[in-house]
Subunit: 358 residues, 4 copies
Amino acid sequence: MSNSLGRRFKITLFGESHGRCVGVVVEGCPPGLEVREELIQAELDKRKPGGEAFSTPRLEEDKVEILSGVFNGRTTGAPICMVVWNRKQDSTPYEKLKWTPRPGHADYPAYVKYRGFHDYRGGGIFSARLMVGVVAAGALAKQILREKEIDVLAHVVEIGGIGIGRTPSIEEIREKTYKSALRCVDEEASLKMQHKIEEAKREGDSLGGIVECLALNLPAGLGDPLFNALDADLAHALFCIPAVKGVEFGAGFKAARMKGSENNDPYTVENGRIVTLTNNAGGVLGGMSTGMPLIVRVAFKPPSSIAKPQQTVNLKTMKPTEIKVEGKHDVCFVPRAVPIVEAMVACVLADHLLLGQL
Amino acid sequence: MSNSLGRRFKITLFGESHGRCVGVVVEGCPPGLEVREELIQAELDKRKPGGEAFSTPRLEEDKVEILSGVFNGRTTGAPICMVVWNRKQDSTPYEKLKWTPRPGHADYPAYVKYRGFHDYRGGGIFSARLMVGVVAAGALAKQILREKEIDVLAHVVEIGGIGIGRTPSIEEIREKTYKSALRCVDEEASLKMQHKIEEAKREGDSLGGIVECLALNLPAGLGDPLFNALDADLAHALFCIPAVKGVEFGAGFKAARMKGSENNDPYTVENGRIVTLTNNAGGVLGGMSTGMPLIVRVAFKPPSSIAKPQQTVNLKTMKPTEIKVEGKHDVCFVPRAVPIVEAMVACVLADHLLLGQL
Amino acid sequence: MSNSLGRRFKITLFGESHGRCVGVVVEGCPPGLEVREELIQAELDKRKPGGEAFSTPRLEEDKVEILSGVFNGRTTGAPICMVVWNRKQDSTPYEKLKWTPRPGHADYPAYVKYRGFHDYRGGGIFSARLMVGVVAAGALAKQILREKEIDVLAHVVEIGGIGIGRTPSIEEIREKTYKSALRCVDEEASLKMQHKIEEAKREGDSLGGIVECLALNLPAGLGDPLFNALDADLAHALFCIPAVKGVEFGAGFKAARMKGSENNDPYTVENGRIVTLTNNAGGVLGGMSTGMPLIVRVAFKPPSSIAKPQQTVNLKTMKPTEIKVEGKHDVCFVPRAVPIVEAMVACVLADHLLLGQL
Amino acid sequence: MSNSLGRRFKITLFGESHGRCVGVVVEGCPPGLEVREELIQAELDKRKPGGEAFSTPRLEEDKVEILSGVFNGRTTGAPICMVVWNRKQDSTPYEKLKWTPRPGHADYPAYVKYRGFHDYRGGGIFSARLMVGVVAAGALAKQILREKEIDVLAHVVEIGGIGIGRTPSIEEIREKTYKSALRCVDEEASLKMQHKIEEAKREGDSLGGIVECLALNLPAGLGDPLFNALDADLAHALFCIPAVKGVEFGAGFKAARMKGSENNDPYTVENGRIVTLTNNAGGVLGGMSTGMPLIVRVAFKPPSSIAKPQQTVNLKTMKPTEIKVEGKHDVCFVPRAVPIVEAMVACVLADHLLLGQL
């Protein structure tokens, strides 16, 4: 029904995978913010297919166009509409799939919900391509955060069961993530992931993984208890990314296995600032930021579109049948999800930051 | 800032742990729904401390009182305000803690956010006691769901690292959960959990765990893609429960380690209805319900209040100091969280159900 | 469905005329605000029936009780729940009216909407008594405004067609309004209004009128163009007061008869501040405050409950019938509406003020 | 901050008068609705300058383009983005006005609010041109209403103080409004209005007026008491149209001068349906529709841009100065406001209709 995120920094998405465009309307951006199309473009470029091995060989030239809200290179305070025009796509393969929902895809519930009227071409509104609008909005959010020296950094910590096996430094994440095709700072792990991806590709299969995101220099006290908890708002936004199946903060699911004495983060004073010695909380307590780095991890399932034959049902005949999803699809979506996770986190943080203290 | 949940079935919480009361205003309940105070009371009773071993020996007699919105035993369509009056509590121990934030608690960010004006007694608004309002609202939500034969069932699947180690049947969960003091259907595991809890108690420590929740008979197509995804709304609500650090649907974090061919749930037809052979999706795809059971797991960290000495900082002197959190506290909150998880899930589902199809 | 007003300073009403209580939950009140029950009480007392002649002789002792959100005499930042308990009311007269909707009342559409389940006693949720919650919330809003030296002043400018016939000074309004039983600063007009009211009372009839409200010292730039225009938000709030049929700003409907050269307010500089020589705009242009006094006028229809016989329909037999509305009813509600109008305006202004500049 | 209207049928505007485009994102349109660009275009054409005499001679060819949410000629249930590209406009005259706010315009509060960063060309976001998005959205809303046989009809009842002086029949309004250049069904009055407009034009002045809007065949029970009252939501939407200074329902401000016995609408039964003999309520009681025609009147001030010299202040020097607003401006905006009023009313009614009964 509603597809807006945020209360003060608010984004509204529109568009379809094989329609005219994908886009976003951003409301609540303060006036006077310098907006350079190339900065937004740079963020969009981060989610482009990065390497032949793990990703789709489609040619995507996602050029952002700003339609409103920017004047003389600065935000005016008015809603900012940004679009990326779609290139002509071949929608023929989707005609075949119209009556045979792909396992793991939104096809079947969408068919029920929209009574068959939805745009099924390329996944329509359910396509991860809609995240283009989120990334564009996130570029603005990041700029708002940057003015407060808040940084949002995501990176891949696991693909196909292969984890990075160590905690990289902030500097490492900042420097290496986008230099790596897999958005993974650990070269050894990257190599193994790469092999795993190639193997899955050969098998006509796909792989999932985990993206970790940090937000640095957050002030303490962002977010509210009860229903506008910072972690709750972040989780909400992150679960809106296609293929996300789990979200955890700090020690996350591991915290459920720790004792209170292990999990509680002791306080100390460092350079006149109250900090914690550990950060199992992941920077959020009682729905509010603690001032320590925010740490959130997001689990992505493997892409549903695989070349292997799968069992489905023909919606017209209501008989079981088999499908093979043709076309060029990502073997592993996780590296491309990194800038999306960053953008979602940035949007939520900008919203809370602009809402300000109570 | 805002503490409301939901758009059509909307709940607004108020109250404090050691204040006059805790309560809730429920808006959007359809008129004509039979409301029996004893049914709401029965839900509230489920979150009472159940056994000496794992929980606080405080006497709590949470009697719900309906202040508005019900006439001749039925909802009128007007807002329903329900309160539970607090018994006189001893707030003395909290005076000591005022300037020494407890590790793992909301104390420190609350102090920053509210500039020292928050009610720190018994955790104030940050106390899990606020969930009384959620459980009361959930009782109404469950009744709305029951009219569509939708059931919401939660149970404990892990405490202190001890898991139930098997997938219990729906019937088992329905029958056994609330007969078990630990809200765990597996007797063997329960016994081990019980020992673990007693051990933690002796050590002045605390334990976390995992609650699983199922929703049965949901129609396909509830929820929307983009920003009102059913899973995103559920995750948002669940992260608003104190101490939650992770949420996952279906295979969840495990899905990140599966191949597409393993994770995709094949479709088939059963009694003229389209179903999936597996349910790794946990009943939700593309932000919409699939018609299969909704499965969500919620990770709770161990309670922060422990008897063991912990390091903190005195906010006045800005010097490190040590505290021991006195008073009677839950060693393990997880069993008491079971009806809260059910209530949150029920509220979100009732909201989406009443919003109806597009 | 939703009964909340405001985005940042948000109020949620509950209660019924003859139910347990009427009340409000106020969210978004900044922490540290001094709250004195007697100040809130003083506002509530302003809407009490003031004189035998024009108002109901019912005994109302509306004592406000603060249930949450206030600690040590100050707001904590948590939701503030306030209730006024209802005295035992005689609901017998309403049984007769159950199937015969009173002309001009909400009875008939309520019967359709709520399918007969609504609480019809004393008007239930449709009663102006619900405005008690608004006035209580308004008392907090006024305090937020007072910190910025913003004043909200309403007064009666017309009753039963008798207008005050002159523009009183701000000082006069401030000093005299609440000293007048009719909340009208002009003594001569008051006298005529009083006679008109007595006449209507003798005839078993009722009278409407117009309330004017000013807000002083507003900064320029509050409110937004498009859909959060300050005037639009104010109009929305004011039309939520029972019996309001018209709202106009500045010259209002008269502006429709003016030429641009007459209506445009010329700018000048006064004490280094930009002001306008006239204020036909009523302090709002393009949805934003201009810094000049906000001026809004609210038209109230006469109370629907009159002793004269009226034609209605029996909902069971669907046959026309006649009713006389018995009981003690206000002949003219307008003087009692003055603090309600102030409260609504204060709530909207506090909301916009806390939202702050873009 | 937020520029969305509606909860279920939600519209978000963007664009600027002299920017790239004006547009709207419509959310909540049910899937399967037939969308013909020419129907939307027909609505847009109604707000085109209709006659040389009263309106701007600018050439406007507002061709709507649907960017998303429509597939195979039908709505998909996804957000519908529509844009109208702006023709190249001459923004030179606005450079002169940058530092001299035009009396009656949003210039000054906008300058304060946006700290000078707003797009001042052609009024930027404050321009009535933004209403193009409302009219486009209204075309969809009207179609939703038409399926329930609900009609929304607006017409001019007063310009420059000249009223139509009689109550035209519904049929007359339906037939004649858009055949009249002034959108006024009374030919005699139209002629006088026309002369008045020509006179104002000669004087370099402008005129305001009043638009009346009716909605027919509404079911009883739409809207809610308290804060989602139908009249309050309509008033909110209507005050968001530039230049609106007053809104009244049914007898409106006149009701304030009536006695209860005159104003109350007696009930009767007609063809088995409950109706009222009069309609002073304007079809709304207690915030809910009564099933009688909804009647709302909207007062427009005269356009602020006039050729006559006016006094203002130079924002840089803070000295009084004089301006003449050059360029081609509407002498009277009221006829062009007719389809905008219809569209706003249609959007609010569609929203309430889709929200459905409680």
